[in-house]
Symmetry: C2
Subunit: 433 residues, 2 copies
């Protein structure tokens, strides 16, 4: 078969990683695909020292790449949601297949992009958009295609997991670890995107769509960051046999879809609780297969490039296939997507870890437990400890599963008590079973 010709747009971390994989593993890839994959053109504002561009057709205008009639597959590796969107739509318009690593673009504009791709009969592949090198899109969309997916839960932001791991292993405060993560290059100067869960919400949006067959609904994803988690919270969780992880969780209920990113207590016995540092992992629970977990590097040029090039190979293999018999973009046929609503966060169900400062005197505990009981909340475990040199002592309560609306009502009542100092810290608990 004749070679497949690709054009690479963007030569940053992921672009250069993808370029180098195509170069270094060319022989292995040809042995697999039965045809070579040739870099026909590279579009980048500047060269990258990581890539030997000798003999490569390089243009400074990425739109040259999508206009190049020789090119079968356009790799969009520039990031962002403005120029990248124009680029991808133009590539589709020109009849090119597209491979992208752009989670924000897919999460925010995927519905429009996939509709256009379907109209033009081309593929838009996006394995690299979620969890870097972990083939989680393929796992859910194809590997578990026999299942009705019940829920998924993942550590899908390496920066956040590095911070939570360091806080847990070394009892360090958030701000201290964040500064180190910035020094190490794991976190940006403005860490909002990672630390407040926006990046994870982009990825969760995509995972939920392909798991349940719903349109992409980034704007409905509940997002809560890790910046308010204290070393004390982490310590109490540990004492109770739990780790605090920043998880993206999507669950299908009869009422609708839970779609939420937030700090979460999970049992130390869970494999997911033992995923440390910058690594990513996603649990998926299917009705036939039961719980599964997939683990690997969630970022970096080569791991993310591994997913980009796997997509290029997949697209190369379907170039000769019937467009109506491909794996659909969102795992389900475009005309069979579900209109199951995304639930408001008040409607989700979860266990809760509550950490509050109370006055060390009779009756306070009774008031609190009464408020919880009145709101239909039952207590699983409780820790009250002395705090030296203070009249205030910490009280930690772990509850059974309850609707968030009830918990909100209880917390409002508890915070109104005169014997409570400040806010109640509330962290959700998941049993992943």
């Amino acid at each position: 078969m004749k070679p497949v010709k690709v054009g690479i747009c963007g030569l940053g971390t992921v672009g250069s990683g993808s370029f180098n994989i195509l170069r270094n593993n060319a022989e292995e890839i040809t042995r697999r695909v039965g045809r070579s994959i040739v870099i026909e053109q590279v579009g980048a504002r500047r060269d990258n020292d990581m890539c030997d561009l000798t003999g490569v057709n390089v243009t400074r205008d990425i739109f040259d790449v999508v206009a190049n009639p020789e090119i079968d597959i356009v790799m969009e590796l520039i990031g962002g949601t403005t120029i990248a969107k124009d680029l991808v739509l133009q590539a589709i318009e020109n009849g090119k297949h597209v491979v992208t690593a752009n989670k924000a673009l897919i999460a925010e504009h995927g519905n429009e992009i996939f509709a256009k791709a379907q109209e033009k009969g081309v593929m838009v592949a996006f394995e690299a958009a979620v969890a870097g090198g972990i083939p989680i899109i393929k796992t859910i969309r194809e590997g578990l295609s026999a299942n009705r997916i019940d829920w998924l839960a993942g550590i899908i932001n390496g920066t956040g997991n590095f911070i939570m791991t360091e806080m847990s292993e070394k009892n360090r405060p958030f701000s201290d670890v964040l500064a180190e993560a910035q020094a190490l290059g794991y976190a940006e100067a403005d860490p909002t995107f990672d630390v407040e869960g926006i990046d994870a919400a982009h990825k969760l949006t995509i995972l939920a769509s392909i798991a349940f067959g719903i349109p992409l609904q980034f704007e409905k994803t509940y997002t809560e960051g890790i910046s308010k988690i204290t070393a004390e919270d982490v310590g109490f969780a540990k004492d109770l046999g739990y780790s605090i992880k920043h998880l993206g969780i999507a669950r299908r209920t009869d009422q609708g879809i839970e779609l939420r990113v937030h700090p979460t207590l999970i049992s130390k016995k869970q494999l997911l609780a033992n995923v440390n540092g910058v690594m990513n992992a996603v649990m998926v629970k299917g009705d036939a297969v039961g719980p599964t977990l997939t683990y690997g590097a969630g970022a970096g040029g080569l791991p993310t490039g591994s997913s980009v090039i796997a997509d290029v190979i997949d697209v190369a293999r379907t170039l000769t296939a019937d467009p109506d018999n491909r794996v659909p973009h969102l795992a389900f046929q475009a005309n069979s997507l579900s209109d199951l609503p995304v639930l408001p966060v008040e409607e989700i169900e979860s266990g809760y870890f509550l950490n509050m400062s109370i006055e060390d005197k009779a009756g306070v505990l009774a008031n609190i437990t009464q408020i919880l009981s009145k709101n239909g909340i039952s207590i699983e475990s409780l820790i009250q400890r002395e705090r030296e040199g203070s009249d205030l002592v910490p009280l930690v309560v772990m509850t059974h599963i309850v609707k968030e609306r009830n918990m909100n009502a209880a917390i409002t009542e508890i915070e109104a008590l005169s014997d409570i100092s400040g806010k109640v810290q509330r962290i959700r608990v998941e049993h992943l079973a």
Copy 2:
């Protein structure tokens, strides 16, 4: 598109699981594939109470199924390597695509079966043959297709992992846990197949072929069981921060392929060391992606059926594709398989854990360390303990990585010392890095 018609041969655990998934998730599957998958015929010696066969065309002769002109895909779920082989070859001869869960058949006769399938232009899919519901074949063959795979290591026999987990968590002896596993139905009356690693060797043979692009070479797989592991070995390993797991390991070196199943010490910090009970997990290290791990149920009707039906869906999707542009059976094009040899076990390289009984007197330790040193073996750590009421004390040595040939020579010399009682227990150590 018109429905895809399948025939199920065998209605045991996996057959009934697959049947019920197709029935129960019919709507979800049709939403995914864009066409329905219809059970045209079932061939089984007897009915199964787990399946509602009302209105199903059932035959007692499974060869009716492969002869049925209506059927597109034959599901071989009878097991064994005699009738199953005839059935699969006949199905291929008749131009049917085949989906099988049969690890022994693929590991021992896959080369012949795939050659015939290639000749006839049909697919033989076998995701369910390795690690039950975990989509590890798809992960390696497609998800990590951009990588040169360096090595893989897996817990790929649930019975063995249940036994090792119980021995480790409860300090129980092997024979005791095996009896419980048999009572629970995890182990057969004759447990040889699981406990001596033959089942794992079948699976490892398949994984190695698709990772490295080599023909299936079951007969060259080194296989060592767990029946000689003692509670004392497990205890010492724990003290050193290790778990003992029964692993299948395949590694590519410049000299050839290491292909081996044996008990293995791995650090407790490894995610793989925390995979417990009957669960399976496979680590794969690619040059671009780095280390990955995939975890899930390795057996059972529904988990294994999850992989069977995912294969049926995959085949349904390639029915309209160019046969020369499919994912090759062994991940690499049939004419591009490598002739890299499988190394004899003496040529493998590994760390070692040695456990021996020595006389508690001066000079013994010096003799042993001298023998190790002379054979080029350096010691990483060492434990010598008192044993009450005995002149013999246990000596445990952990070594750095060395060639097995050297270790064999050293052990022969150590066992010849007059101050050693009995054999030296030798367990390999892997760092998985």
